[in-house]
Amino acid sequence: MRVAESLNRALHEVLADDSSVRVLGEDLLDPYGGAFKITKGLSSRFPGQVLATPISENGIVGVAGGLALAGGKAIVEIMFSDFVTLAFDQIVNFASKSVSMYGRPLRLPLIVRCPSGGGRGYGPTHSQSLQKHFIGVPGLAVYEVSPFDDHRELFGEMLARGEPCLLFEDKILYTRQIFEDGIADDLFRYDVLPQAGQVTRVYLEDPEQADCVIIAPGGMAHRALAAMRTLLLEREITCLLLVPRRLYPFDVAPLSPLLERTGAVAVAEESTAGGTWGAEVAQQVHSRLWGRLRRPVSLVHSAASVIPAAAHLERDVLVQDTAIVRAVQELLP
């Protein structure tokens, strides 16, 4: 099953299980079913729960916040995650603050889905990975879709949090198959570490045996796997890949034993350079494991650039598996 289908199924189940959930967004009515078809079929099956909106990102997220405030639950689709900047006020100043600024906890079950990332030639305003701009906001959780995850469970977890969640969905991932039964491919296996907040662990034969750890969100999974394959076959370097379900809040503590064993850690993400999620993770790793690391945590991210439309130029800017290979080699000279 493709990731898009898995997300679509999960949304069908969420709406069927809980009639207080509403899905809002632009152009998500059938037959179109949303720009990436993730909401396909929902409006026909749950007409009262699905609302197509005007092009008003700030307004839609505000309306969703109001629904959540009044006792409902809301899932918003931002057509391209780039446009979530227009809803920054409603996310940062209203929804995430409301859960605590009134002096007592307030439940605000709200998910903002953000189809993100490049690789499709959509150009500078339709290709960004804006995760980093939402890291460190009190009362706001940031998630990223991964091909290893059970997406029904993912939506359930976010709604149960009772605070606003952003869900980044790498657009390239939509067309990829989800991984099942602990098998990533012919080389790598995976399992999930529930005690570490549902972090997926991808490994070759034995998770305890690795030369290096790569931490990367779901959208990077395939590039990380490709890098791990190259490193193994060409350099005999074994990597352990850790894919967190939730990027923020993120606690590196339960992963420390795994990181310590190798002493070599790389963090890979698609956001452009500067003020990244990876820098936040690296800071945590450094303050916990300094002295037990062979080298500083290596950051892999896209170049500090707008994201060009032309395929060859875009490729130069965005993180490729080769960048991960390079980073790991530098960690293990």
Binding site: G48, L51, T53, P54, S56, N58, G59, I60, V61, G62, V63, A64, G65, G66, L67, A68, L69, A70, G71, G72, A74, D89, Q90, N93, F94, K97, S98, S100, M101, Y102, G103, R104, P105, L106
Partner: protein, 305 residues
């Protein structure tokens, strides 16, 4: 007309309405006084001169209705809850504060009342609440207060568009006091609020009167129609801000301030106008003194959760 207004206020108002008007007036005055003494942190925006708006609206609202307030919300809060202790404790960060002192003057949540300090932000949220009410609790409405300056925000138009499209039970009350912080309305608004509201197909009413009975009679049927599914209603009150924008920042000329005072419902020599007014005015003033003394004597507030 002004004399007529004064007569009405002193003769026709119920004790309840007059008491509430005076409570808000003395509460706000006391706040500015406490500010002067250095006892209030941060900032606070008083509604001096505008008290009659929430007082007129109070009985038009039911328990199930949501009220969204803004930075100038003390009158809105007091008209809904008549709880000067909780509000003052919130502003002063003392025990018994409605929001534990986290929210302060501008960020208050109590039951179905919420205020926040970002201009225009509450309108989409109020539309979302109205959407929920439309389907889950028909007959209830969401009312949001905004100032004239806030009509500069895009969020206002996104919300009006959706509210009108979806026929939401939303009432937007604009307190047009002719100024936004230091910018006169004439320098920040092209066209009129009425034309803007009508452009979205919203029903609109301009209220020039400060007669509480007249305002209620005019608005009651419009509120009813909103509850019954006629879609959003925009009401614009032509009103006057007597005090500074927040604590001591008045850039208006003496002449402009005098003009605002001329429109005040509270007669400056009120005590001499009628025995009832004089008595209730003294009572309200004394009550607010008691509230302030009591709240100032409380320990600092603690934050829950």
């Amino acid at each position: 007309m002004q004399e007529g207004l004064l007569e009405k206020i002193t003769e026709d108002l119920s004790d309840d309405d007059l008491g509430l008007l005076l409570l808000i007036r003395h509460f706000e005055r006391k706040l500015l006084d406490l500010f002067g003494q250095g006892l209030v942190q941060g900032t606070t925006h008083t509604c001096l001169g505008q008290e009659y708006v929430p007082v007129a609206l109070a009985p038009l609202l039911g328990e199930r209705d949501f009220v969204f307030s803004n930075h100038r919300g003390h009158g809105h809060y007091l008209a809904r809850f008549r709880d000067p202790y909780g509000l003052l404790a919130e502003i002063l960060g003392r025990e018994g504060a409605v929001c534990g002192g986290v929210g302060g003057s501008q960020h208050i949540l109590s039951g179905r009342y919420l205020s926040t300090g970002i201009q225009g932000e509450s309108l989409p949220v109020a539309a979302g609440v109205a959407l929920h009410l439309r389907d889950a609790e028909p007959g209830a409405l969401a009312l949001a207060y905004v100032g004239d300056g806030t009509w500069g925000q895009g969020a206002v138009y996104e919300a009006l568009n959706m509210a009108a499209l979806w026929r939401l039970p939303l009432v937007v009350v604009t307190e047009n006091n002719g100024i936004a912080q230091t910018t006169p309305t004439s320098a920040q608004m092209a066209g009129t609020i009425g034309d803007r509201a009508r452009a979205f197909g919203c029903r609109f009413l301009h209220v020039g009167s400060r007669d509480i009975g007249e305002i209620r009679d005019g608005l009651r049927p419009l509120f009813e129609r909103t509850r019954e599914g006629a879609g959003p209603l925009v009401v614009e009150f032509a009103t006057h801000r007597l005090g500074p924008h927040s604590k001591g920042d008045d850039t208006r000329t003496a002449e402009e301030i005098r003009r605002a005072r001329d429109h005040d419902w509270y007669p400056r020599e009120g005590a001499t106008v009628s025995p009832r007014f004089a008595r209730m005015d003294a009572e309200a003033r004394a009550f607010v003194e008691v509230v302030a003394g009591e709240v100032l004597g409380r320990p600092l507030s603690a934050r829950e959760g």
